[in-house]
Protein backbone atom coordinates (compact mmCIF):
# COMPACT_ATOMS: atom_id res chain seq x y z
CA UNK A 1 0.00 0.00 0.00
CA UNK A 2 1.60 3.30 -0.99
CA UNK A 3 1.17 6.27 1.24
CA UNK A 4 -0.63 8.15 -1.53
CA UNK A 5 -3.29 5.50 -1.58
CA UNK A 6 -3.72 5.80 2.15
CA UNK A 7 -3.52 9.59 2.32
CA UNK A 8 -7.22 10.12 2.01
CA UNK A 9 -8.09 7.46 4.57
CA UNK A 10 -8.96 8.18 8.13
CA UNK A 11 -9.03 6.16 11.29
CA UNK A 12 -11.22 6.61 14.36
CA UNK A 13 -9.72 7.42 17.72
CA UNK A 14 -11.89 6.85 20.78
CA UNK A 15 -10.34 9.05 23.39
CA UNK A 16 -10.89 8.95 27.13
CA UNK A 17 -12.08 12.30 28.42
CA UNK A 18 -12.24 13.48 32.00
CA UNK A 19 -12.14 17.02 33.29
CA UNK A 20 -11.67 17.46 37.04
CA UNK A 21 -13.47 20.80 37.09
CA UNK A 22 -16.76 19.54 35.75
CA UNK A 23 -17.00 15.79 35.10
CA UNK A 24 -18.34 13.32 37.65
CA UNK A 25 -17.60 10.40 35.35
CA UNK A 26 -15.23 9.88 32.45
CA UNK A 27 -16.52 9.46 28.92
CA UNK A 28 -15.18 8.61 25.47
CA UNK A 29 -15.05 11.00 22.57
CA UNK A 30 -14.61 9.85 18.98
CA UNK A 31 -12.45 11.69 16.49
CA UNK A 32 -11.56 10.99 12.87
CA UNK A 33 -7.87 11.49 12.22
CA UNK A 34 -5.99 11.20 8.93
CA UNK A 35 -4.35 7.83 8.53
CA UNK A 36 -0.68 7.91 7.65
CA UNK A 37 1.49 4.87 7.37
CA UNK A 38 4.30 6.29 9.51
CA UNK A 39 2.15 7.96 12.16
CA UNK A 40 2.16 6.78 15.72
CA UNK A 41 -0.79 7.25 18.07
CA UNK A 42 0.98 10.28 19.55
CA UNK A 43 1.12 11.94 16.11
CA UNK A 44 -2.63 11.48 15.82
CA UNK A 45 -3.18 13.02 19.26
CA UNK A 46 -0.92 15.95 18.40
CA UNK A 47 -2.79 16.50 15.17
CA UNK A 48 -6.06 16.57 17.10
CA UNK A 49 -4.69 18.95 19.70
CA UNK A 50 -3.27 21.33 17.07
CA UNK A 51 -6.08 21.32 14.56
CA UNK A 52 -9.30 20.12 16.15
CA UNK A 53 -9.53 20.21 19.90
CA UNK A 54 -7.05 22.15 22.00
CA UNK A 55 -8.59 20.89 25.23
CA UNK A 56 -7.22 17.38 24.80
CA UNK A 57 -4.68 16.78 27.57
CA UNK A 58 -1.77 14.32 27.68
CA UNK A 59 1.95 14.32 28.33
CA UNK A 60 4.68 13.89 25.74
CA UNK A 61 8.14 15.10 24.96
CA UNK A 62 10.92 13.21 23.19
CA UNK A 63 8.80 11.21 20.68
CA UNK A 64 11.66 8.69 20.43
CA UNK A 65 10.83 6.25 23.22
CA UNK A 66 13.24 7.37 25.87
CA UNK A 67 11.66 10.12 28.02
CA UNK A 68 8.83 7.90 29.27
CA UNK A 69 6.15 10.62 29.25
CA UNK A 70 3.58 9.34 26.77
CA UNK A 71 2.49 5.98 28.21
CA UNK A 72 -1.23 5.32 27.71
CA UNK A 73 -3.55 2.36 27.30
CA UNK A 74 -3.97 1.72 23.58
CA UNK A 75 -6.73 -0.77 22.85
CA UNK A 76 -6.43 -2.02 26.40
CA UNK A 77 -2.67 -2.51 26.53
CA UNK A 78 -0.13 -0.18 28.11
CA UNK A 79 2.02 1.36 25.35
CA UNK A 80 4.33 4.27 24.69
CA UNK A 81 2.18 6.17 22.21
CA UNK A 82 5.27 7.48 20.41
CA UNK A 83 6.04 3.89 19.54
CA UNK A 84 2.53 2.56 18.84
CA UNK A 85 1.92 2.88 15.10
CA UNK A 86 -1.58 3.47 13.77
CA UNK A 87 -0.94 0.68 11.26
CA UNK A 88 -0.83 -1.86 14.10
CA UNK A 89 -4.46 -1.17 14.95
CA UNK A 90 -6.14 -1.12 11.54
CA UNK A 91 -8.92 -0.85 10.67
CA UNK A 92 -9.64 0.73 14.06
CA UNK A 93 -11.21 2.18 16.04
CA UNK A 94 -8.27 2.84 18.35
CA UNK A 95 -9.19 3.32 21.96
CA UNK A 96 -6.85 5.60 23.93
CA UNK A 97 -7.07 5.77 27.72
CA UNK A 98 -4.87 6.89 30.61
CA UNK A 99 -2.60 4.27 32.17
CA UNK A 100 -4.54 1.87 34.36
CA UNK A 101 -3.98 1.82 38.10
CA UNK A 102 -3.37 5.54 38.57
CA UNK A 103 -5.72 8.35 39.52
CA UNK A 104 -6.51 10.56 36.53
CA UNK A 105 -5.72 14.24 36.67
CA UNK A 106 -7.34 15.02 33.35
CA UNK A 107 -7.91 13.05 30.12
CA UNK A 108 -4.74 10.93 29.68
CA UNK A 109 -2.79 12.75 32.38
CA UNK A 110 -2.34 10.51 35.42
CA UNK A 111 -1.31 11.44 38.96
CA UNK A 112 2.25 10.26 39.58
CA UNK A 113 2.73 11.28 43.22
CA UNK A 114 2.55 7.72 44.52
CA UNK A 115 5.18 6.47 42.11
CA UNK A 116 7.53 9.39 42.66
CA UNK A 117 7.33 8.78 46.41
CA UNK A 118 8.14 5.10 46.00
CA UNK A 119 11.07 5.93 43.77
CA UNK A 120 12.63 7.85 46.65
CA UNK A 121 11.78 5.22 49.25
CA UNK A 122 13.90 2.52 47.64
CA UNK A 123 17.01 4.73 48.01
CA UNK A 124 18.10 4.66 44.37
CA UNK A 125 21.57 6.07 44.85
CA UNK A 126 25.01 4.67 45.59
CA UNK A 127 25.39 4.04 49.32
CA UNK A 128 28.89 3.52 50.67
CA UNK A 129 30.43 3.22 54.09
CA UNK A 130 33.38 5.24 52.87
CA UNK A 131 33.29 7.57 49.87
CA UNK A 132 36.40 7.42 47.74
CA UNK A 133 37.70 10.94 46.99
CA UNK A 134 37.23 11.99 43.36
CA UNK A 135 40.97 12.62 43.06
CA UNK A 136 41.61 8.91 43.48
CA UNK A 137 39.74 8.20 40.27
CA UNK A 138 36.89 5.94 39.33
CA UNK A 139 35.77 2.81 41.12
CA UNK A 140 36.84 -0.17 39.08
CA UNK A 141 34.01 -2.18 37.59
CA UNK A 142 34.55 -4.90 35.02
CA UNK A 143 32.22 -5.33 32.03
CA UNK A 144 30.99 -8.51 33.72
CA UNK A 145 30.11 -6.63 36.92
CA UNK A 146 28.42 -3.97 34.83
CA UNK A 147 26.40 -6.67 33.05
CA UNK A 148 25.02 -7.82 36.42
CA UNK A 149 22.83 -4.72 36.76
CA UNK A 150 22.91 -2.98 33.37
CA UNK A 151 19.56 -4.31 32.26
CA UNK A 152 17.84 -2.99 35.39
CA UNK A 153 19.37 0.45 34.86
CA UNK A 154 17.54 0.89 31.55
CA UNK A 155 14.18 1.79 33.14
CA UNK A 156 12.71 5.03 31.76
CA UNK A 157 10.04 5.27 34.49
CA UNK A 158 7.23 5.17 31.93
CA UNK A 159 5.10 3.15 34.35
CA UNK A 160 3.67 0.79 31.76
CA UNK A 161 4.64 -1.99 34.17
CA UNK A 162 2.43 -0.56 36.91
CA UNK A 163 -0.45 -0.38 34.47
CA UNK A 164 0.07 -4.06 33.61
CA UNK A 165 0.31 -5.23 37.23
CA UNK A 166 -2.92 -6.60 38.76
CA UNK A 167 -1.29 -6.56 42.18
CA UNK A 168 -0.67 -2.81 42.03
CA UNK A 169 -4.16 -2.30 40.67
CA UNK A 170 -5.60 -3.89 43.81
CA UNK A 171 -3.00 -2.91 46.38
CA UNK A 172 -1.72 0.61 46.16
CA UNK A 173 0.83 -0.08 48.91
CA UNK A 174 2.76 -2.46 46.65
CA UNK A 175 6.06 -0.77 45.80
CA UNK A 176 5.68 -2.11 42.31
CA UNK A 177 7.84 -3.35 39.45
CA UNK A 178 9.90 -0.32 38.34
CA UNK A 179 10.84 0.85 41.83
CA UNK A 180 11.76 -2.67 42.97
CA UNK A 181 13.82 -3.22 39.83
CA UNK A 182 15.64 0.02 40.55
CA UNK A 183 16.42 -1.11 44.10
CA UNK A 184 17.77 -4.35 42.69
CA UNK A 185 19.81 -2.36 40.15
CA UNK A 186 21.66 -0.63 43.01
CA UNK A 187 21.90 -3.78 45.12
CA UNK A 188 23.64 -5.54 42.23
CA UNK A 189 26.02 -2.65 41.49
CA UNK A 190 29.52 -3.59 42.63
CA UNK A 191 30.08 0.00 43.76
CA UNK A 192 27.14 -0.02 46.15
CA UNK A 193 27.05 -1.14 49.78
CA UNK A 194 23.48 -0.21 50.62
CA UNK A 195 21.86 -3.63 50.36
CA UNK A 196 21.02 -3.81 54.06
CA UNK A 197 19.57 -0.31 54.14
CA UNK A 198 17.19 -1.18 51.34
CA UNK A 199 16.24 -4.58 52.74
CA UNK A 200 13.76 -3.47 55.36
CA UNK A 201 11.48 -2.00 52.74
CA UNK A 202 12.24 -4.33 49.84
CA UNK A 203 11.75 -7.49 51.89
CA UNK A 204 8.59 -6.20 53.57
CA UNK A 205 5.03 -7.22 52.75
CA UNK A 206 4.68 -4.22 50.42
CA UNK A 207 7.88 -5.21 48.68
CA UNK A 208 8.87 -8.29 46.75
CA UNK A 209 6.53 -10.67 48.59
CA UNK A 210 3.49 -8.87 47.26
CA UNK A 211 4.49 -9.91 43.77
CA UNK A 212 2.70 -13.03 42.53
CA UNK A 213 4.88 -13.26 39.45
CA UNK A 214 2.28 -12.53 36.84
CA UNK A 215 5.17 -11.39 34.66
CA UNK A 216 3.17 -8.94 32.55
CA UNK A 217 5.34 -6.06 33.80
CA UNK A 218 8.24 -7.56 31.87
CA UNK A 219 6.07 -8.34 28.86
CA UNK A 220 4.96 -4.72 28.40
CA UNK A 221 8.31 -3.11 29.25
CA UNK A 222 9.44 -1.12 26.18
CA UNK A 223 13.08 -1.26 27.29
CA UNK A 224 13.35 -4.97 28.20
CA UNK A 225 14.19 -4.13 31.79
CA UNK A 226 12.49 -7.27 33.11
CA UNK A 227 11.27 -6.01 36.48
CA UNK A 228 9.66 -9.39 37.14
CA UNK A 229 13.10 -10.96 36.91
CA UNK A 230 14.57 -8.38 39.28
CA UNK A 231 11.87 -9.11 41.85
CA UNK A 232 12.29 -12.90 41.61
CA UNK A 233 16.04 -12.55 42.04
CA UNK A 234 15.48 -10.47 45.15
CA UNK A 235 13.12 -13.16 46.45
CA UNK A 236 15.79 -15.81 45.99
CA UNK A 237 18.32 -13.64 47.84
CA UNK A 238 15.88 -12.94 50.66
CA UNK A 239 15.13 -16.65 51.01
CA UNK A 240 18.80 -17.60 51.02
CA UNK A 241 19.52 -14.96 53.59
CA UNK A 242 16.66 -16.20 55.80
CA UNK A 243 17.95 -19.78 55.87
CA UNK A 244 21.58 -18.79 56.15
CA UNK A 245 20.75 -16.70 59.21
CA UNK A 246 20.23 -19.98 61.09
CA UNK A 247 23.84 -21.01 60.47
CA UNK A 248 26.31 -20.21 63.21
CA UNK A 249 28.79 -18.89 60.63
CA UNK A 250 28.67 -16.96 57.35
CA UNK A 251 29.44 -19.23 54.41
CA UNK A 252 32.13 -17.88 52.09
CA UNK A 253 30.82 -15.57 49.41
CA UNK A 254 27.49 -15.04 51.14
CA UNK A 255 28.28 -12.02 53.26
CA UNK A 256 28.56 -8.48 51.96
Amino acid sequence: MTSEATAARTVTLEVFRYHPERDEEPSFQSYEVPYREEWVVLDALNWLKDEVDGTLSYRWSCRMGVCGSCGMMVNGLPRLTCNAFLREFLPGPIRVEPLRGFPVERDMVTVLDDFMGKLTEVKPWIIREQEQPVEEGEYRQTPSQLADFKQFSMCINCMLCYAACPVYEHEEEFIGPAALALAQRYNLDSRDQGNEQRQRLIWSDEGIWDCTFVGECSAVCPKNVDPAGAIQQAKVEATNSFFLSFLPFTPPGMGR
Binding site: P103, V104, S218
Partner: protein
Protein backbone atom coordinates in the same frame (compact mmCIF):
# COMPACT_ATOMS: atom_id res chain seq x y z
CA UNK B 1 -15.19 20.58 41.84
CA UNK B 2 -14.95 16.79 41.42
CA UNK B 3 -11.13 16.71 41.37
CA UNK B 4 -8.91 13.93 40.03
CA UNK B 5 -10.58 10.65 39.17
CA UNK B 6 -9.67 8.11 41.88
CA UNK B 7 -7.88 4.86 41.05
CA UNK B 8 -10.22 2.27 39.67
CA UNK B 9 -9.85 -1.45 40.15
CA UNK B 10 -11.52 -4.28 38.31
CA UNK B 11 -12.04 -7.81 39.59
CA UNK B 12 -12.11 -8.99 36.00
CA UNK B 13 -8.37 -8.34 35.59
CA UNK B 14 -7.75 -12.05 34.97
CA UNK B 15 -9.90 -11.92 31.84
CA UNK B 16 -7.78 -9.28 30.06
CA UNK B 17 -6.00 -11.76 27.87
CA UNK B 18 -4.26 -15.10 27.86
CA UNK B 19 -1.22 -14.12 29.91
CA UNK B 20 -3.49 -13.13 32.79
CA UNK B 21 -5.71 -16.22 32.39
CA UNK B 22 -2.71 -18.51 32.45
CA UNK B 23 -1.51 -16.87 35.65
CA UNK B 24 -4.84 -17.59 37.26
CA UNK B 25 -4.72 -21.20 36.05
CA UNK B 26 -1.19 -21.55 37.40
CA UNK B 27 -2.40 -20.36 40.79
CA UNK B 28 -5.34 -22.80 40.53
CA UNK B 29 -2.94 -25.66 39.92
CA UNK B 30 -2.33 -25.65 43.68
CA UNK B 31 -5.93 -26.85 44.13
CA UNK B 32 -5.28 -29.71 41.70
CA UNK B 33 -2.16 -30.73 43.60
CA UNK B 34 -4.12 -30.64 46.87
CA UNK B 35 -6.75 -32.87 45.25
CA UNK B 36 -4.08 -35.38 44.29
CA UNK B 37 -2.83 -35.39 47.87
CA UNK B 38 -6.33 -36.42 48.99
CA UNK B 39 -6.26 -39.30 46.50
CA UNK B 40 -2.85 -40.38 47.82
CA UNK B 41 -4.06 -40.24 51.42
CA UNK B 42 -7.03 -42.46 50.47
CA UNK B 43 -4.60 -44.90 48.88
CA UNK B 44 -2.51 -45.04 52.07
CA UNK B 45 -5.65 -45.65 54.18
CA UNK B 46 -6.76 -48.44 51.87
CA UNK B 47 -3.36 -50.12 51.90
CA UNK B 48 -3.60 -50.13 55.67
CA UNK B 49 -7.06 -51.70 55.40
CA UNK B 50 -5.65 -54.91 53.94
CA UNK B 51 -5.63 -56.68 50.60
CA UNK B 52 -9.38 -56.42 50.02
CA UNK B 53 -9.55 -52.71 50.62
CA UNK B 54 -6.55 -52.24 48.30
CA UNK B 55 -8.23 -54.25 45.54
CA UNK B 56 -11.37 -52.16 45.93
CA UNK B 57 -9.27 -49.05 45.67
CA UNK B 58 -7.69 -50.25 42.44
CA UNK B 59 -11.08 -50.98 41.00
CA UNK B 60 -12.37 -47.52 41.86
CA UNK B 61 -9.30 -46.08 40.17
CA UNK B 62 -10.40 -47.75 36.92
CA UNK B 63 -13.54 -45.64 36.78
CA UNK B 64 -13.70 -43.14 33.89
CA UNK B 65 -14.40 -40.34 36.35
CA UNK B 66 -11.12 -40.93 38.15
CA UNK B 67 -9.28 -41.24 34.86
CA UNK B 68 -10.64 -37.81 34.05
CA UNK B 69 -9.67 -36.44 37.47
CA UNK B 70 -6.14 -37.73 37.01
CA UNK B 71 -5.92 -36.31 33.51
CA UNK B 72 -6.95 -32.88 34.81
CA UNK B 73 -4.43 -33.08 37.65
CA UNK B 74 -1.72 -34.11 35.23
CA UNK B 75 -2.64 -31.19 32.97
CA UNK B 76 -2.33 -28.71 35.81
CA UNK B 77 0.97 -30.22 36.92
CA UNK B 78 2.29 -29.85 33.37
CA UNK B 79 1.09 -26.26 33.18
CA UNK B 80 2.72 -25.43 36.48
CA UNK B 81 6.00 -27.05 35.53
CA UNK B 82 6.27 -25.59 32.06
CA UNK B 83 5.33 -22.06 33.10
CA UNK B 84 7.67 -22.30 36.06
CA UNK B 85 10.61 -23.60 34.04
CA UNK B 86 10.19 -20.79 31.55
CA UNK B 87 10.68 -18.35 34.42
CA UNK B 88 13.75 -19.95 35.93
CA UNK B 89 16.27 -17.67 34.16
CA UNK B 90 14.45 -14.63 35.48
CA UNK B 91 14.80 -15.76 39.07
CA UNK B 92 18.22 -17.37 38.78
CA UNK B 93 20.38 -15.87 36.06
CA UNK B 94 23.62 -17.81 35.61
CA UNK B 95 27.03 -16.51 34.72
CA UNK B 96 29.81 -18.62 33.30
CA UNK B 97 33.25 -17.12 32.75
CA UNK B 98 31.94 -13.58 33.24
CA UNK B 99 29.25 -13.94 30.58
CA UNK B 100 25.58 -14.40 31.22
CA UNK B 101 24.24 -17.76 30.11
CA UNK B 102 21.44 -17.21 27.55
CA UNK B 103 17.95 -17.59 29.00
CA UNK B 104 17.03 -20.22 26.41
CA UNK B 105 19.90 -22.41 27.56
CA UNK B 106 18.79 -22.26 31.20
CA UNK B 107 15.23 -23.12 30.21
CA UNK B 108 16.50 -25.97 28.04
CA UNK B 109 18.60 -27.19 30.98
CA UNK B 110 15.58 -27.19 33.26
CA UNK B 111 13.49 -29.14 30.77
CA UNK B 112 16.43 -31.50 30.15
CA UNK B 113 16.74 -32.18 33.86
CA UNK B 114 13.04 -32.82 34.06
CA UNK B 115 13.23 -35.35 31.23
CA UNK B 116 16.22 -37.07 32.84
CA UNK B 117 14.48 -37.39 36.21
CA UNK B 118 11.35 -38.67 34.46
CA UNK B 119 13.47 -41.24 32.63
CA UNK B 120 15.02 -42.44 35.88
CA UNK B 121 11.57 -42.73 37.45
CA UNK B 122 10.42 -44.70 34.42
CA UNK B 123 13.40 -47.07 34.67
CA UNK B 124 12.78 -47.67 38.38
CA UNK B 125 9.12 -48.24 37.64
CA UNK B 126 9.91 -50.75 34.88
CA UNK B 127 12.49 -52.59 37.04
CA UNK B 128 10.16 -52.78 40.02
CA UNK B 129 7.21 -53.76 37.85
Amino acid sequence: MPGPLPRRKSNAWWNRGWPYRIILLRELSAVAVAGYMVLLLLLVCNVRGGEGAFADHLEVLQSPLLWLVHAIILGFAQLHTTTWFRLVPKAMPLKLGGRRVPDELIVAGAFGGWLAVSAVVLVIFLVVA
